[in-house]
């Protein structure tokens, strides 16, 4: 069963003060996320990531389309007890302590009273906030709030977790902790849908990624597949203080750093390049095929498609 089935979900807002006109925030999104999958929803700021999450959480209402979550209609109240949500830059009731907040959310999520307190302590320990459990949230740092946000999202042991920019604003250590937690959720068999614009995180964590830009889904692909595509080039690293002339004539793009040279050249020139190194008696360190990075895939998908260019021109034409 698919964990999330988004069926042509669309959202437009009315903007303008006097003459209200619709502004499309999300264009007919169709996407399926399988159970147990870690899915990264990538896109620049304002791309439509948060709008999608808000639609799925029932915080905003779709202009068109629908979605099914864990086999139920997204409006079905039963869905909510099986999902967890961490909003972007979460803000909680700052008059509460971390323990009180989790207890309150546990009550609202229907976590049985018996065992709720133990569950809260378990979650606080899991995110490393046991020592601050009695402190009011107004004294929490951003990183602590983010960790608490994760704790509240998984407090009721949901099957599906939605995380909106979970690494946003965190220091490297904090990001590492969040990454580890997402990995743990994967091992527990949870489905994780998270939005981010930090590509290295997505590459390290996700099974699949979807790229959204200007409210439109530009592409969906398995990370392993996307990053295994060869580029028809090889990268040769060897010991030298200068680039041999023979290598330059083969069309290599080389960079010298200290006693090492890093050269990228067409795959068909690989044997010839090795011959040059042998001839010059240079020590080979590595030879690897150049693969496409997630970043390249992302940049490629962000470029406007033919259809978009046409739509843009039509819009300008109508505007003129």
């Amino acid at each position: 069963m698919a964990a999330i089935e988004i069926l042509d979900l669309e959202k437009s807002y009315l903007v303008g003060f006097w003459r209200k006109r619709p502004k499309l925030a999300l264009r007919s999104l169709r996407l399926t996320i399988e159970e147990g999958e870690v899915f990264g929803f990538l896109g620049p700021n304002g791309a439509g990531k948060t709008t999608t999450l808000k639609l799925l959480m029932g915080l905003v209402f779709p202009t068109a389309g629908s979605a099914r979550i864990l086999g139920l209609d997204m409006d079905d109240p039963r869905v909510k007890s099986q999902i967890g949500f961490l909003p972007e830059q979460p803000y909680f009731y700052d008059h509460l302590t971390a323990r009180e907040l989790l207890n309150y959310y546990g009550q609202l999520s229907g976590v049985p009273a018996k065992g709720r307190a133990a569950r809260v302590e378990q979650m606080l320990a899991r995110v490393g906030l046991s020592d601050s459990a009695g402190m009011q949230l107004r004294k929490f740092s951003k990183g602590m709030l983010q960790r608490l946000g994760l704790a509240q999202a998984i407090l009721h042991d949901p099957k599906l977790v939605f995380l909106d920019e979970p690494m946003s604003g965190l220091d490297p250590m904090g990001r590492r902790e969040v990454r580890d937690m997402i990995q743990e959720l994967r091992h527990e068999g949870k489905t994780v849908f998270f939005s981010t614009h930090i590509l290295s995180d997505a590459e390290a964590l996700c099974d699949r990624v979807g790229i959204i830009h200007q409210g439109e889904l530009r592409g969906v692909g398995a990370v392993a597949e996307v990053t295994s595509q060869k580029q028809g080039k090889v990268e040769i690293v060897f010991c030298a203080q200068a680039v041999p002339a023979g290598l330059t004539s083969l069309g290599a793009e080389a960079r010298v750093s200290g006693d090492m040279v890093n050269a990228v050249l067409p795959e068909e020139q690989q044997d010839a390049a090795l011959e040059v190194l042998r001839r010059e008696r240079l020590k080979l360190i590595s030879l690897t095929p150049v693969r496409r990075s997630l970043e390249e895939y992302y940049i490629q998908k962000l470029r406007p498609t033919e259809g978009q260019r046409e739509r843009e021109e039509d819009r300008k034409g109508v505007g003129a």
């Binding site: 029932g58 909510k80 099986q82 830059q89 509460l96 959310y105």
Partner: protein, 275 residues
């Protein structure tokens, strides 16, 4: 976490019941208000005013009781209304602005439960505040009169009517804040409180006005909350009794009016996008 552990809500699709959730939200709202320092400042101010009424009472020969009851209950009423508006307007909008609502509504909480829970939480806060301020007034009364008399029981009825006023003010603040900014909600609610306090005069004016103007005046007079019927401060200050029928009518009126305002807030909030 143990991967093999059962889902915490397994077999519990509705994850608790609506009444319980409303109760949790109400308690959290109450707790938030109780921990707000501004609230204590307002209560302290109201108590100070009650205390000051002793001073004014002492220089008002033979009418000490009248002055203390009048000033004390007016202070309770005014400060209570200020607290009701001050907290009421932020109940929903603050949660949207600060996005605390996101983590609540992404749980098995329906929007109407949230609004009703907030209303009960604020009402509970105001009842507790009123009890505190009422103790101040009664102590002031005891100080100037040296003992309680039978007619002082009507002061409690006046306090009960003040609580009914708060109920309506809370509901109105919640209603306006479900679609408007906090500032505008405060202006609307306070304006309605002032107009509603003159409701009897408005009704009198409507009765003597003819034609379309009369129709409009009648509609407005009956649409605005009748706070003047809920104000018996002057009556009880003079030691006059409050008819039992008025207590019943006022109770029903306040409950009905609040229910309508809350229903309106729910209807609007149900359809609102939380941007």
């Amino acid at each position: 976490m143990n991967s093999g552990r059962r889902n915490a809500n397994a077999g519990n699709p509705n994850a608790g019941n609506a009444n319980a959730r409303i109760g949790y939200i109400a308690f959290n709202t109450f707790r938030e208000a109780v921990r707000d320092r501004v609230l204590y400042n307002l209560i302290a101010f109201a108590l100070l005013l009650s205390g000051a009424s002793i001073l004014v009472g002492e220089i008002s020969i033979d009418v000490e009781r009248l002055v203390v009851v009048n000033l004390g209950l007016t202070a309770v009423s005014l400060f209570g209304v200020v607290i009701a508006i001050f907290i009421g307007i932020g109940l929903v909008s603050k949660e949207i602005d600060k996005r605390t609502l996101y983590t609540v509504l992404s749980r098995p909480v329906r929007r109407w439960e949230f609004v009703v829970g907030k209303f009960f939480g604020l009402t509970g806060t105001l009842v507790v505040n009123t009890v505190l301020m009422a103790i101040g007034v009664l102590l002031a009364l005891l100080y100037v009169a040296h003992r309680f008399e039978k007619m002082d029981a009507w002061v409690l009825v006046a306090l009960y009517f003040i609580v009914l006023q708060f109920l309506i003010v809370c509901a109105l603040a919640l209603f306006f804040s479900s679609f408007s900014t906090p500032l505008m909600s405060a202006v609307f609610t306070f304006a309605l409180f002032v107009i509603g306090s003159l409701a009897e005069d408005l009704r009198g004016f409507a009765r003597i006005t003819q034609g379309v103007g009369g129709w409009i005046a009648t509609a407005v007079a009956y649409l605005v909350p009748n706070f003047s019927a809920l104000n018996v401060i002057s009556q009880v200050a003079h030691g006059d009794a409050v008819p039992g029928r008025l207590i019943l009518y006022n109770t029903l009126y306040a409950l009905l009016y609040s229910a309508m305002a809350i229903s309106g807030a729910v209807l609007i909030f149900q359809r609102r996008d939380l941007k």
